[in-house]
């Protein structure tokens, strides 16, 4: 075999080796994404001093659980009171407290366009199991034009999930986090 041919074979072998390694590194990266380090437990919505109808209160809670499951940011999403969450490591607790609620009117919205909006504003806080605050946000959810009043809870929950996804969570081992 000529020396030039040997070089060519060696080069092709090297390229093949690199190509074989690339998918495994990509898979490793994918694997890291597939297993998020944190789990979350969604607490019941706290009313504070806001007079919120019970159906809105439960709808916010249900929608937040649904949106967090859909977002896949957390390994597992647990409901308030779920006993299976007791032994789970790296658990964050999402607390939602009502700040403002303006009751809307769907008919008023349909007739006037500019009035009758349903407005919700909450404080979302992520705590570690030992009560350390990791994140805190004030989030809105409004229905201004089309849709039922209860749709505001969906908008709010979607905004909560998006905000949490955009924020940087600390490493599970590290204490505390950004605010």
């Amino acid at each position: 075999m000529k020396p030039s041919n040997c070089k060519m074979v060696a080069l092709i072998a090297a390229v093949l080796c690199v190509m074989a390694l690339l998918p495994s590194t990509a898979a490793a990266a994918r694997g890291e994404k597939a297993a998020p380090p944190w789990n979350v437990q969604v607490d019941e919505v706290q009313l504070g001093d806001v007079a919120l109808p019970p159906d809105f209160r439960m709808a916010i809670y249900e929608e937040i659980v649904e949106e967090l499951v859909k977002g896949k940011q957390f390994g597992s999403v647990y409901r308030s009171g779920d006993k299976t969450a007791d032994g789970v490591p790296n658990l964050l607790i999402l607390k939602t407290t009502m700040r403002k609620y303006s009751a809307g009117n769907e008919t008023q919205r349909a007739v006037t366009t500019v009035s009758g909006a349903t407005k919700l504003n909450v404080r979302s806080q992520l705590f570690t199991r030992d009560g350390k605050l990791v994140l805190e946000y004030f989030i809105d959810g409004n229905v201004r034009f089309m849709g039922s009043n209860l749709h505001a809870t969906h908008v709010l929950a979607h905004n909560v999930a998006v905000t949490l996804k955009r924020s940087t969570l600390p490493e599970p081992g590290a204490s505390g986090g950004g605010r």
Binding site: P53, Y61, S80, D82, A110, M146, N149
Partner: protein, 181 residues
């Protein structure tokens, strides 16, 4: 002789009719024993294993609340798992997206006038319950106006836990009615 034959036929018909009526009464009594409240409702959200915004039949059975949608999986809430029951009211525009598109197509904002009349009031029944692991759930149903309280009362009568209704939400008493006269 012919007269007797006709009279016999009439008697037989009457007897058969009475038998049918009796059977119907017995069947309805049995059904009432199983479930006294059952209407078509919309499951808005929160019932495990059931799609959101599904129409179906909500029945109170001896074991709890049973939702049977037109198609797909059904959902049950046992009496023991119920933490609280709330009844509210809501006002919605009827017709959904087709109606909305139709209203938008009417020139000179004529759709707005239709919106004034195309709304309907509903009751919302919110049932707070826990699953087998103790996780909290909240099932919300949209039901015909005035039926929410009946569901609540019957569930409470069957042993479901429900916090007392605040005074402000209770219907006006007779004394108040007399004052307005």
């Amino acid at each position: 002789m012919n007269h007797n034959f006709v009279a016999g036929k009439v008697r037989l018909t009457l007897l058969l009719a009475a038998l049918v009526l009796l059977c119907t009464a017995v069947a309805s009594a049995q059904a009432a024993g199983e479930s006294s409240t059952s209407t078509t409702v919309t499951h808005v959200m929160g019932l495990q294993g059931v799609h959101n915004n599904t129409n179906g039949k909500l029945t109170i059975t001896t074991s709890g609340l049973d939702f049977q949608p037109g198609s797909g999986a059904s959902g049950q809430i046992s009496i023991a798992s119920i933490r609280d029951i709330f009844v509210g009211s809501e006002d919605r525009q009827v017709g959904g997206v087709p109606m909305m598109m139709g209203k938008a197509a009417i020139p000179y904002s004529g759709g707005r006038v239709i919106s004034l009349f195309s709304h309907k009031k509903y009751d919302s029944l919110t049932v707070q319950y826990t699953d087998a692991n103790g996780g909290l759930h909240g099932a919300i149903f949209r039901i015909a106006r005035g039926e929410g309280s009946a569901y609540r009362q019957e569930l409470v009568a069957k042993g479901a836990h429900a916090s007392p209704v605040p005074e402000a939400e209770k219907p006006a008493t007779q004394e108040v009615k007399n004052e307005t006269k």
